[in-house]
Symmetry: C2
Subunit: 353 residues, 2 copies
Amino acid sequence: MTSPVGLHRVVEPAGVLPQGAWRLDASPEIAANEVRIRVERLNLDAASFRQLWEKHAGDGDAVRAEVREIVAARGKMQNPVTGSGGMLIGTVEEVGRRSPLQLKPGDRVATLVSLTLTPLAITDGLARWDGRSEQVPCDGHAILFARSIAAVLPDDEDPQLSLAVLDVCGAPALTGRVVSQYVAERAREGDPRPVTVAVIGGAGKSGSLSLAAARRAGAARTVGVVPVAAERDALAAVGLADVVALADARDPVALSTAVTTALGVPADVTVVCVDVPGCEHGAVLATADGGTVIFFSMATSFSAAALGAEGLAADVTMLVGNGYVPGHAELALGLLRAEPGVRRLFESRLAAD
Amino acid sequence: MTSPVGLHRVVEPAGVLPQGAWRLDASPEIAANEVRIRVERLNLDAASFRQLWEKHAGDGDAVRAEVREIVAARGKMQNPVTGSGGMLIGTVEEVGRRSPLQLKPGDRVATLVSLTLTPLAITDGLARWDGRSEQVPCDGHAILFARSIAAVLPDDEDPQLSLAVLDVCGAPALTGRVVSQYVAERAREGDPRPVTVAVIGGAGKSGSLSLAAARRAGAARTVGVVPVAAERDALAAVGLADVVALADARDPVALSTAVTTALGVPADVTVVCVDVPGCEHGAVLATADGGTVIFFSMATSFSAAALGAEGLAADVTMLVGNGYVPGHAELALGLLRAEPGVRRLFESRLAAD
């Protein structure tokens, strides 16, 4: 039985997971539970590209040569310095008869698992890339395992818009799931209190989708917290939150006051979507006893969250935002389609990039 | 209304939480929701004591002088270099009429919130302390806020044993709560599958209590995972787990294989109690789809957990272990009393220290 997480593709060191491996076997023959993708473009992780760019002082040819060498040596695109990868776009070429991914040949897909664990071979020498951008036109193939994740790109959407949504699709899915649980539990217990939700960083990509998902899951009152007036105006204009509040998320007293004032009570569910350190205590303080904080920010400090809640004697559930929830890609693309406010925020963000 | 988290005691800088403050007001007059403790002993945090000890090259008088100066300057015992505090033991002296802590004058208590946020004044100049140990005999007073936590020490237990249990009492409380939720949900849905639990680091303080709490909460099958044969034998001898397995928690494949072999299936709830980095992927891989990982180790990397679960397409809930759950002290002391296996492990650990 071939490993669903790809252990059989690990060449060295033996016995580790593909992400931790130095080298993967990227040969094109697939096992019964695998899928082969014809690669069309790599999106390098921003930190990885920046490291290569700075190392080679902006020499695009040298950057290209190093990416080629990394993939040839490792069988995957994982920057040895930053440890990071990126994702890819391509077309499904062959599907093993026992693959559970529900893909079919010809589907145009984006991989939602990192390049750091995806077997990859480049066959065109990256001839069409100038080495000067994170977007890498590329011919070659990649392998998906049984437990990989790939999303079919909608034909009728700008692919850049779809990718921007897919990049953060775990956040609305988990937010929706948690809010639904509160709504169902209150209904079961005959508790008439409305479910309240605060999204810190509500005008951003994951934040705006989370606000839309919270409302769809039955949140009765939502607040989006943003740090500056321009974001406040942008979020207020699209109507994704019942209230928009301005506060510095690193200031626990200011943040909790803003949330409690906006909602009338502390939040049942607080979602942290801002990538700045130091938001843990404010998020805990803004959350009701028995409530839940979901941390999506990679700047979250595990110990600050744990010790902060203890120091505040706060009976809150704190979740590490898992980027994978079954159905997350479809849910997020559905929100883009159904919510004009989400689309407007994403389009203006893409236009500004 | 006086702040339940002690904002009114913050002197500088204004507007921050007590833990983040440079200086607190430690005056002995209490507000209606506060409690004053007559202090009997401080237990300095190990990292804090070590820093002071090394700075003063083992000169106990200099260490004592600096602790005295820190408390005089800051109104709390928070080491300015390590940022850490410790806890204290004392006797309740006065209880404000609106304190929710359910303490009464004369109760002998341990504070379960950190000294870093507890107003403290020393009145004996630490005359009975030689500056050579983390245990600081001390006369003075400390203030508890409405949202502080203090546990009454049982008269009939060795105080050192009680303190060792109270130090980790959040772990069994949260483990018990999560396991109970799985048991209740399966019962509600008529799902006959037994609830399975893996505790990584099952022979340690938080681990052994978590195993006992999981079983009491209705876990049908439990495994304690330990890294060395001596711990395996110790844990097996006390019977707190259905199976004891030997595995390196930093090796994802080895860990998940050990858990799945021991339980027959992946764990519904995996509890990480080992203070070594790199256990995130193994814990995720050892957990069933729809299961929960509770991270109690301060060595947990937030990003390794988030990215690991995503990379494995693992639909698991990941919890930041909150040290506070209502009733946690009573639950843990009750387990010490009711479970001879817990007592034996704790006593042999204290004897070894």
